[in-house]
Symmetry: C2
Subunit: 355 residues, 2 copies
């Protein structure tokens, strides 16, 4: 009897393909003009930290995944946007505390290592790192047979940023009377995709290439729109101490994310008709017959980031957002009361009278 010889490659792990992927990663990073490429191949990434500018530097770090938005990328075999989603998501998560990005690392796990796909994914990561002045310090590409289907993968990212301690933003300066400003999202960003896919692909039996007239584009174009980074619009406002709170509207929507930064005895009163949710949200809410409460916990409903400021700074902020061509709306106000987020229609507020 001839015994079958089992090699590591038979077992689904291909070190040579891994090496080819690393070569492609180095090339794409060089082309995009990110530095630190010589570090790839080390066990860890090196980041010399210049702290002369800081009195009390605080590192702010965050980890995130892309979630099931990846499934849409798999469907159309287009992998150069999900890395941008991931980096921008991470940048926003530390920006809300007042931090600027220092460096980023990715974790990419694939069922079967396909060097071309790795290259596309890392290209997206590198593009967004460059846009956000963030070093791509390294990453892990793992081949995981039996975990992911061929052509599928999971992607997570880790970011480290820095802020001066006394400029950290955590919502503790929020006062009654503060304004709530909403910055426009570009679409679903990276949340609500499990439900959106269920509605679009299972219930409505649409294809990624189906054109939806209400949206003016195809399903895939809508769903793969890149999650936006608010770094360049917001960092000036942070540096100048114009904001009392910032919330990144991700999973859990405005409801769950805005409440995180509210101090005790303050509520956020959101005016439902103060902005116009983009067509995709109206479409999904209608098709899923979501109650209002649920829609605001599932989707960002057109608001990707919420800024809170004292009323006195309103004009400065608006003028800056206009300069940056950032789409925004005044969407509500902080009021005294039980710590929660409530949604009201403008007429309800007027019936409330006092103002």
């Amino acid at each position: 009897m001839v015994k079958k010889k089992i090699t590591y490659k038979d077992a689904g792990v291909d070190i040579d393909k891994g090496n080819e992927a690393v070569k492609r990663i180095k090339k794409i990073i060089r082309e995009i003009g990110l530095s630190s490429i010589e570090e790839i191949g080390h066990f860890g990434g090196f980041f010399p930290i210049s702290i002369e500018k800081f009195k009390n530097p605080v590192l702010i770090s965050s980890v995130d995944g892309v979630g099931t938005k990846l499934k849409v990328a798999f469907m159309v075999n287009k992998h150069d946007t999900v890395g941008q989603d991931l980096v921008n998501h991470c940048v926003n998560d530390i920006l809300v505390h007042g931090a600027k990005p220092l460096f980023f690392m990715d974790y990419l796990a694939m069922g079967k290592l396909i060097p071309e796909t790795v290259e596309e994914i890392v290209k997206g990561i590198a593009i967004a790192c460059k846009e956000n002045n963030c070093l791509l310090l390294g990453g892990e590409t793992a081949e995981m047979p039996d975990f992911y289907k061929v052509g599928e993968y999971d992607l997570a990212g880790f970011i480290v940023g820095i802020a001066e301690k006394n400029k950290l933003i955590d919502g503790s300066d929020i006062k009654a009377g503060d304004l709530i400003i909403g910055l426009a999202s570009t679409g679903l960003h990276t949340n609500g995709y499990s439900l959106a896919r269920k509605i679009l692909f299972e219930k409505l039996k649409l294809k990624p290439e189906s054109y939806i007239s209400e949206l003016g584009r195809t399903v895939a174009e809508e769903l793969l729109t890149v999650h936006k980074s608010y770094l360049h619009a917001v960092s000036y406002l942070i540096e100048n101490g114009l904001l009392t709170g910032i919330a990144h509207i991700t999973g859990g929507g405005i409801t769950d994310n805005l409440i995180r930064i509210l101090p005790e005895n303050l509520m956020a009163e959101i005016l439902l008709d103060s902005w116009d949710a983009p067509p995709i949200f109206k479409f999904l809410v209608k098709e899923a017959r979501l109650r209002q409460e649920e829609s605001f916990r599932t989707f960002n409903m057109g608001i990707g980031m919420v800024l809170i400021c004292h009323y006195i700074n309103k004009e400065k902020i608006i003028s800056h957002l206009k300069d940056k061509k950032e789409k925004y709306w005044i969407i509500g106000e902080i009021k005294s009361g039980e710590r929660k987020v409530i949604y009201i229609k403008r007429e309800q507020r007027h019936r409330g009278a006092k103002e």
Copy 2:
């Protein structure tokens, strides 16, 4: 016709289960006595960085996954060790550059969020963070229906450490004549599991609870042995400038990991009979009929970390390793020659004559 109402929960994402998982995480972290628990719930983790002690601080960062070792945890529904594997792996990856850990973050993606399993996993992470004097700064727990089977998950980790620039270790001080010291691994650590599982469960049709007399324990006990951290054994050697190079023996084995730190025109000559590989490696190599070359690129073969030092420091290092009860062997020597790792038997070396 009554339309079916699709909720976010129907789509496989359960925010309330997520909140329960967060509660359990907070509890376990409190019980284990890690600090920074109040940060959970923020968008990012805060790490005030004390850099007074450093002239030129460098942050060293690494990202890793557990790989298919997770499959063994799934088979026996035991989830409190994989987090330790992950943290220890990350700690070792930055230790080789001379860094001590500052903080850690995890990414956990599950098909169906099971709060009890999340708790077990995070317990392992928290135990290892505590052992390695590392803050658990935060994490992402994602529910990803359609990605992972019920009861399955992927787990990745991200570590940030710090070192003084002029004490960084990158192998550039390695000289011909330096000694190569191998520190014992506890088993497979986190590499070679795809192949090991194929041999044990597919070829030999063993069960996790099967007792293997050569190993003196069950398959699951062997395969779930925790990947060891070398922090406490090695950091004293780093602080005292006793090492010229360190390699963490992970995927790619001694061959691919040791070469990473070799300068040009130096080779690492490993003496094959200088240590005794634990039974699991002999068993797997025999059953898979691996060629020697392949076995040293697939498994750690009993060596979890390689230290390189000038000959003059040999006694100091050995004395310290003995104090720390760390199992070690002198496994080879650095020689002039083409940059590569070669394996020879002791008699071959003696035939080589010069010595």
